[in-house]
Symmetry: C2
DNA sequence: CTGAAAGCGCTAACAA
DNA sequence: TTGTTAGCGCTTTCAG
């Protein structure tokens, strides 16, 4: 268990001082080519690994940023993290990952843990349980960048990166209308997080703009899952007044809806179905699923960009900006009926 | 930009010394209840956040562990990371994530970066480009736990957690044979990483054990992707001697194979298809795909367990163990032909 | 161009 | 039970 080599070892080996070594290592202009090369060389020979911890302690900057997501197992979050890490690693930033598992308690712990680890900032998407922002307050108080994405609270004055969920609801509905569907149901859920109410508003607005009636019993509030999709369809198709298309709350719900529709002989696109998220399976199921692309990768990139900007400007909260990404329709078979 | 509060501030406020504060904060037995409470209280009032960086520097232990994977965007790796992070966070460990993007150069950089960040250990799965282990050597040299999982190099003397890939190839093939298929083709790839050759051996052994002939032209070496799956099937079905079932290198390849088979009217399970990985979509496509479960979550858990064990025992490399997980067949429609 | 020395925030050995 | 102090490895100001 030999001791690790430090700049002191390099200094001793060359009969110079640590300050010179430090300067050489950090490429200061005021250093002679000769000493610099000598330092670099002995650093290599001595198998020197810089201790960023010490640097971080000294400088008050770790170059580590904390990321809190409900779970990396959801393809959306995995994609965000993927592009986030990718975009930041070249700038010298590392990422500490913390999963909240949709639990507020864990999210609170996460913020605390990351702060204790002295991260330079936090990028987070709120858990479904989260109904307050007190735990995030401390990040702001420490004047460290905090960016919320996708599942955000905009009344809390931190920068956010989100999808335009009103528009998402709108274009999903409009897409169905464009394809000739006229009696459009919505499988949704109620939640603190504004996403779902925004989408609902978008759905309603699209109907209105097309002079279609908003039928209350076509709006089903339930969970979001394959099972809920099946259940929702069951409920809808038992009515005397049946819809001819369905906007599902997410792709899993849409999948459940499709399965149920196939069972009862109303295989999409006979009844149109559109989802949200563009999950991995959406392109591969039969009929493959039209859906709303949430641009996860862009979201990661935007978060990275915003973080870098906040770090650069002296005070991260000098100007708090909200980036809103534009959702797009992915047109596939499940909405492919063409007759107006 | 007020200064952060440190244990010195707490000490000053209570007219005691930092060592007492430190002891109180760390719950030393030799501290009086009174002072301890006082410390805890003022810590709260002063809004104290411990600086783990300083602790880490002092103790030479960060409680951070580095994780290197090709990408979090693959569901397998996402699952491993999910259970890894989940299993380790309660033990006080955080995870720094580093994606190699299947690039050796990035993987090398990753090891370096993580070592500089003074991680307590590294858990990694090798990139497809990786053909040497020099860059990992340094981790071992520093006597820090290094665990390789899934894509490993067993001749390199570090602990590993893997799936029994020979068995995976074997049971996939045996499954098809059990279902009555007799002319079984294999869509695979060649690679440094032993996984694929192991599976090939398993495939061959299963055929042998069942007195089925190994037909060279039934073994197609290509890439692994939807496109490669289509291509492979095209190639196979153009032969005069056609297979009646296909073991595909992964689920994507299997998916491509299925799509192509449907197109040419040989919809599985007419021709059987089995994949590897149990990707998210596998259960949802039509026909849904039989596949080999790689037990990603268990793999993460095993890595976590192994890491903890290595940390505990004085020298992490005292006993180098290799955990091998048992693959299991997920029996779905794509192999559902029953006639012997 | 280089050196000396303080200090980032914490822990722990030693003393009291 | 508490205090004193050195030091983890590094950067940077001030001198030279």
């Amino acid at each position: 268990m030999k001791k690790k080599t430090t700049i002191y070892d390099i200094a001793k080996a060359l009969n110079i001082t640590v300050s010179t070594v430090s300067r050489a290592l950090n490429d200061f202009p005021t250093i002679s080519k000769a000493t610099k090369n000598a330092v670099l060389e002995t650093a290599k020979t001595l198998n020197y690994t810089p201790n960023k911890l010490a640097t971080a302690l000294k400088l008050g900057k770790t170059n580590i940023i904390g990321v809190i997501v409900p779970t990396v197992q959801a393809s959306f979050f995995a994609s965000v993290i993927n592009s986030l890490e990718d975009g930041l690693k070249d700038k010298g930033y590392r990422i500490i990952l913390y999963q909240s598992n949709e639990s507020l308690a864990k999210e609170i712990n996460g913020v605390k843990a990351l702060l204790e680890a002295q991260v330079d900032g936090i990028i987070a998407s709120m858990s479904l349980e989260t109904n307050e922002t007190n735990h995030f307050e401390e990040v702001v108080k420490q004047n460290k960048p905090l960016i919320l994405f996708d599942r955000v609270n905009k009344s809390f004055g931190v920068p956010t990166v989100t999808l335009d969920d009103f528009m998402a609801g709108y274009i999903a509905t409009q897409h169905l209308i464009d394809k000739g569907y006229k009696k459009i149901a919505l499988l949704t859920t109620v939640h603190q997080i504004k996403i779902f109410s925004d989408r609902l508003q978008g759905y309603k607005k699209a109907l209105l703009d097309n002079n279609l009636e908003i039928i209350d019993e076509f709006i089903i509030y339930g969970g979001l899952s394959i099972k809920d999709g099946r259940f929702g369809v069951g409920k809808l198709m038992r009515k005397k007044n049946k819809p001819d298309a369905i906007v599902a709350g997410d792709d899993f719900t849409a999948l459940g809806a499709i399965k149920k529709l196939i069972e009862i002989g109303e295989t999409p696109p006979k009844i149109g179905v559109i989802g949200f998220s563009n999950e991995g399976f959406s392109a591969y199921i039969t009929p493959n699923l039209s859906t709303i692309d949430q641009h996860a990768n862009e979201m990661g990139k935007e978060c990275a960009k915003m973080f870098l900007k906040m770090i650069q400007q002296g005070n991260p909260y000098d100007e708090v900006s909200h980036t809103v990404l534009t959702p797009t329709v992915i047109d596939r078979e499940s909405t492919g009926r063409i007759y107006k």
